[in-house]
Every structure is written in C-alpha cells, then in structure tokens.
Amino acid sequence: MTATEPSAVPFSAQRVRGRFSDRAARLASRAALALVVLILATLLLLILREALPALGSALSAEGILRADWAPLADPPRFGLAHAVLSTLMVTTLALALAVPIGFGIGLFAAEFAPAWLRHVLQPCLELLAGIPSVVYGFFGYVTLVAWFERYGGMATGESLLVGGLILAVMVLPFIACTSAESFAAVPRALRESAHSTGVTRVHVVRRILVPMALPGLFAAVALGLGRAVGETLAVLLLAGNSTALPTSYLDRGQPLTALIATELPEAALGTAKYHALYAAGLALILLTVTINSVVWRLKARVMRHGG
C-alpha cells in the first residue's frame, strides 16, 4: 500500500504489489518458451535420427538419391529418385504458371484495380488460400482428371500435369498476396512523382515499381515454392502415385509428400523403408528451412526500404 500521508516515506519502505505475480508470470512465460524450444528441437532431432540410417550411403548406386523404389526386389531398394524428380516437375510447372499470373494479380491489385474491386479481390484470394489441400485434390479429380480421361486419350487422367495445374491454383493466392503487398509498399510519393513526369503506367511499373518491389517478389516466389513442395493431399490424389521414374508431364508420378503418405502406414518400424521415408521428411524440412532463411533475409531488406 502506498502511504496515505504526505510524510516522506522512503521508496524502499513502500511495499509494491504484484512483485510475486510478475515473477510468476515471467517464469511461466519463460517455461512456455522453453517447452516450445524443447518440442521443436525434439522434432528436428527425432526426424534426423530416424533418417540417419538411410543417409549413410545416399550417393551410392544403391543409396536413396539414385536408386529406384523397389520394395519387393531382393534385396529391396528404397531410392527416392522418382519422388525427387516428381516433386521437381510438379513444382516447376506450378511455379511457371503461378508466378506470372500471381505477379499480374499483385500488380493489378496494387496499381490498376479501383478501390472497390480491391476490396473484392482480397477476400477472393483469401478464399482460394483457405480451401484445404484435400478439397483441391477432390476438385482436380472430378474436373481435370475426368476431362483428361474423356478427351486426353489417357487410360487414367491422373498425371504430373494435372497435379502441377492444381498446385498452381493452390500457390497462386500466396504469390499474389505477397507480391501485392510488396507493390503496395512502394512509397506513394515515389509513384506520384514518377507519374507527374507524364510517363505511362507501364513505364512507372517497369522503372519504379518492379525494382523497388524486387525483394518482395523474390520472397513471394520462395513462399510459393515452399508451399508447392510441401503440399500433400492434392498431389497424392492427382499425380497418380506411380513409383516409376517419370519421363514426361503426361506420366504418372509420386512426389516426396505423396510417397510418405502412401508408404508410411505400411512401413514396419526400423526397416530400411521406414528410414527412407524419414529421409524424405528430412529433405522437406531442410528445404523449407532454406527457403525460409531466404525469405527472412529478403523481408529484412524490404523493411529497410520501407523505413
């Protein structure tokens, strides 16, 4: 309690309330943080531990990077080559489509669209981002796959092409929103002075907006890449789940995530198959961490621009 009389009570003599609760809160929040760190460290270490046995001879002809997936062979081979290639192919296709369109939408939202349209476009993109992976898989299955079966002259419509197309739709909102943000972050004054020299919009975009937004655009691509690589259910349903090495986009394939989803329920603990699947998981983690550090750095640069 504070002194009620004006007489001089030395500060040290005044009792301060809340010392205990403060200390408790500090302790609790630190404990929560420590728990978070602990859980996350366990996650990394555990997946690393389970993956290690498969990493030993990764580069040899029998290792996970070069061999094929032949669990019934003698001895069985658990190579990830087909999965890595499938992941590369669907991701490349998805980004090749989603990056130009996503940048276009971002630019449109930041520079061309009237205010009311922008307020419609934003929730639409959020809607696209909010639809879960499995629904995209289902949607692709009943539209694109059915279409390819009927008109594409293919026995089954599932293919890397279909997987890549749907994946493009899935990463589109992330690329569009991130690029729209970085275009919009270009200072108004800069835009206005550029326009006040009487040049056309395309000139302002090319000479001012794109150079200024460049780090953000890179971040958008990196973000889309991370999403595309990690998507599971859509490619599981659409890419065809074939363990053969794909040779074209019309082939069926099995990206890393689909491989894990298909095989883990049937992998006995501690077998070579089990370890190979965790190695695939480790590859996904390493990739996302790398991408994230790139995004982290780019974001820092964007912020410096803004400040």
């Binding site: 289902f138 299955y141 395309v202 994230n292």
Partner: protein, 295 residues
C-alpha cells in the same frame, strides 16, 4: 556534344506522347485487367462449383448420420467425421493456445527488445510454420504413436495438430502483442503497476482480436489438413462419440478415403462442401476480427 542539344521552342498545346509507348500501355492495361479477372473468376468458380454440386446432395440426414454402404461412404452421412474433426482441433487448441500465447508474452514483455534470442525464436517459429503438414504427421507417428505408445488415437492426432498450430499461434500472438501501441504500454507502466498487471489489464485486451483471429486461422488450417492425422488419428470408419484413446474419423481424411477408393463420388461433393464452408466461416471470422483491429 552539349552544344548540339537544343531545347525545343515552347509549342502551343500539349505535345503528344510517343506512339509506341501509348500502344504498349494500352496492351499492358488490358493484360493487367485480364489477369486480375483470373484472380476473381478462379476462386468464385471453384466455390460456385462446390456449392452447386454439393448443395444438391446435402441434407440434414447427411450431417447427422454415420456413413454406410459399400464401399463405405457411398450412403449415409458424415456425422462422426464432423465430431472427430471438432474434437481434434479443440483438444489441439487446448494445448497450442496457452503455450503459444504464454510464449508470445515471454517474447514481447519479458525478453529484452532485439535480443538475439527473440530473433532466433522468431526465425525458428517461422520455419516451423512453413514445415509441410506431412512432416508433422511423421513426427507425430514416431513420437506419439510409437514412442509414447498412444497408438492411432484422438489424443495422438490432437497433439500433432496442436504442434502444427503452435508456431502459427506463437507468431500471430507475438505480432498482435507487439502491435499494441508503445505509448499505451509506457503510460500504464508509468503508474508503477507490475508488468503482469499491465499485460493482463491493458495489453492482452487490446491484442485479443488479433490473437483470436490468428487462432481461428490456425484452427482452420489444422481442421482442413489430412496429412498430419492420416498416420496419427484417423481411420476410414469409426462409430459413436470420439474417445481420447480411440481412432476417429475426420472430414478431410474421410474425403480422401472416399475419393481414393474412387467408387462413388456423389457423397464426396457434399463432404467437400461442408468442409469448405466450415473453414470459410472460420477464415471469414478471422478476417473480420483483423479488420476490426485495423480500425
């Protein structure tokens, strides 16, 4: 060199712009509008497709009955899947929300600003938020199902989803707390009350819409992903109310099983619609909260 350049005499009226530039500008504008329309048509088209196809097959019985028929899911409803998804997310949030918010308070209020620890934690959390959902499935399987012998059960799946939501909530809550004006914090602290009191009475209420918003987003994300629960919690069929130590059905994995069996997709349309509408409601609420916060 300089002498060769002469200034044009002021001409009356306004000089026309270069012709090529005008043409490219017009083409560019047309393309930008075209691409912008794609951004409108694509989401509305997909939503419209699901709405039209799904509404035709949706009924009250579908929402309240268990699946039936052969192959399973070709008749009956999806009640156990709805219950299972809700139970998974609710228990997962019960773990992730307190941990995430407490961690965020620790980072914002009880750590020195700009300390390297805060940066490391943020970076770690952002990486984890970006790790694919299937990796959480791998982790949940190895630790919860195998190591802790929880088997494939509601609790394993809920904890896995909780782990997946944790970094998202941690980052979101941290941003929401940091978004509270510095002046507010300083004014409250200058009254000599404890920091915890300030957090509880001033900062948290102010940041609450932001925290709720990100919690809804994380919950929607978790409710919609099948990958982490496929090895930890879900089975093709479960009956009755979900129990902690028994496997459950979930909406996304149910949809996956029905589609991958590929026999009868009639019911799948309605399942997809229920899932999407549920998630859109959650996301919509999150967006509304965020907008309220911005004002």
């Amino acid at each position: 060199m300089a002498a060769e350049i002469t200034q044009a005499a002021p001409a009356p009226g306004f000089l026309p712009l270069p012709c090529g530039a005008m043409r490219s500008d017009r083409a560019f504008t047309v393309i930008a509008w075209g691409v912008g329309l794609v951004g409108l048509v694509l989401p509305l088209g997909i939503l419209g497709f699901l709405l039209i196809e799904g509404m035709a097959r949706l009924s009250w019985a579908f929402l309240t009955e268990a699946p039936a028929g052969f192959p399973l899911g070709s008749a009956g409803g999806i009640a156990p899947a709805i219950l299972g998804t809700l139970a998974l997310v609710a228990i997962g949030l019960g773990v992730a929300l307190p941990l995430g918010v407490a961690g965020a308070i620790g980072l914002v209020e009880y750590a020195p600003e700009d300390s390297p620890w805060v940066r490391v934690m943020r970076f770690g959390a952002e990486c984890l938020a970006a790790v694919p959902a299937i990796v959480y499935g791998l982790f949940g399987y190895a630790v919860l199902v195998v190591l802790f012998r929880l088997q494939i059960s509601l609790i394993s799946g809920a904890l896995t989803l909780g782990l997946m939501m944790l970094p998202i909530i941690l980052i979101g809550a941290e941003e929401a707390l940091r978004g509270v004006e510095r002046s507010l914090r300083e004014a409250a602290l200058s009254l000599g009350v404890s920091r915890f009191n300030v957090v509880r009475r001033v900062i948290l209420p102010k940041a609450l819409p932001g925290i709720l918003s990100v919690t809804l987003l994380a919950a929607g994300h978790a409710a919609g992903s099948a990958a982490p629960v496929m090895f930890t919690a879900s089975v093709a069929f479960a009956r009755g109310t979900p129990a902690l130590d028994a496997p459950v059905m979930t909406l996304p994995s149910h949809l996956y099983y029905v589609v991958s069996e590929g026999a009868d997709l009639e019911q799948a349309y309605a399942t997809a619609l229920v899932l999407v509408v549920g998630l859109l409601l959650a996301n919509g609420c999150a967006a509304l909260l965020k907008r309220r916060l911005a004002r």
